[in-house]
Symmetry: C2
Subunit: 215 residues, 2 copies
């Protein structure tokens, strides 16, 4: 049939995103997921094939549009700059904003996804590793190129490391945004996403522009 029931499939995806994000791949059972989704256990294998396929679907469904947006913002910034080199801050803003911006939407599932993607990078599932690497490859290539043009004096190895540091800071901030509201003793509120983006961009821009100290 052309018409396929998108209802239960969506409910399973939503529950899976939340539970995978909270307890990880092996820490979440299909029975938990289908129970929370209000469907039958067999729905997972019917709609997705297997537990691994469900996990893959949950991740890629979010990662693909997210990275597309990050590439699109970089392209926009390049067009805006014309033939001049991009300002460092503009590059990092395009890199960071879409990730943290996920939290602006009030949809709770997206917050679960931030935990999930952070967890999966700290704990890559082997069956998904190559697929995820392929998904992130164009992003890394384009941003590396843009940063190298803006920072022509920076050795390649330092550029490499600073991208890793930025990624780490970004993922950690994204995954723990909500815990921070609780442990910052009232200093910060979770709905201030713009403040979070600005602070991280400030930090990373300075970090990327740091002088290279003597060895």
């Amino acid at each position: 049939m052309l018409i396929e029931s998108v209802a239960t499939r969506g409910k399973v995806l939503k529950a899976a995103e939340r539970l995978f994000g909270q307890h990880g791949f092996s820490g979440t059972s299909l029975r938990q997921i289908t129970k929370e989704a209000g469907t039958n256990l067999a729905a997972v294998n019917y709609h997705f094939g297997s537990k691994e396929d469900l996990y893959r679907e949950v991740l890629l469904q979010r990662v693909r549009p997210l990275n597309e947006e990050r590439l699109m913002l970089l392209t926009q910034a390049e067009q805006l700059a014309g033939d001049q080199p991009l300002p460092l801050r503009a590059i990092l803003d395009a890199f960071i904003r879409p990730v943290l911006g996920l939290a602006t939407d009030r949809m709770p599932g997206r917050l679960a996804f931030l935990r999930l993607i952070s967890r999966d990078l700290a704990d890559p599932q082997p069956f998904l590793f190559t697929e995820m690497a392929r998904e992130f490859d164009p992003l890394v290539k384009r941003y590396t190129q843009a940063l190298a043009q803006t920072l022509p004096g920076l050795p390649a190895v330092d550029l490499f490391w600073r991208m890793q540091f930025t990624t780490g800071a970004l993922l950690y901030a994204a995954a723990h945004q909500h815990d921070f509201e609780r442990i910052s003793s009232g200093l910060w509120q979770a709905d201030d996403v713009e403040g979070c983006v600005r602070r991280l961009v400030d930090y990373c821009t300075a970090g990327f522009g740091a002088p290279r100290s003597a060895a």
Copy 2:
């Protein structure tokens, strides 16, 4: 008896550290651990009580001396500075070096631990959360205080966020050090720990000292 067999207990700890680091808490079975350790399944419950107790032991055994060293280095730096405020770079070096320095020792178990601690912060086991928080509390307090003295103009909320960014960059770098050797296309070698420390300290020092941009 005063004499207790430390042999099997140690072998179990070592295998558990490696496997928990690679596959996580729920992704690792006691049978995998005891098989790799070359002992019997019942050894875990005999020596540690339960799977959760084993996990707790693996983590705390490493975290405690690690954080003690980080506090000790901060104290040393303070004594060296006398009554003058600490240089920002000295604070961050003391914060970062012991963590990345774990990789200098060629013991493979320590590399497994870096993955493990990074994973546990991305995926805190509920039964261990309060204990881990208590373990990190004095560290956070002392370093927050030192940083506030060195950066008197920085608002508390910005100081808070920059500590989180630094933590994220540090953990990500520590956990992926060895993958980086493979994906950096020859730019970096895993035994260059000093280069890694220097680069991260450069980056974070500049990040902490960044001007606060307009909102």
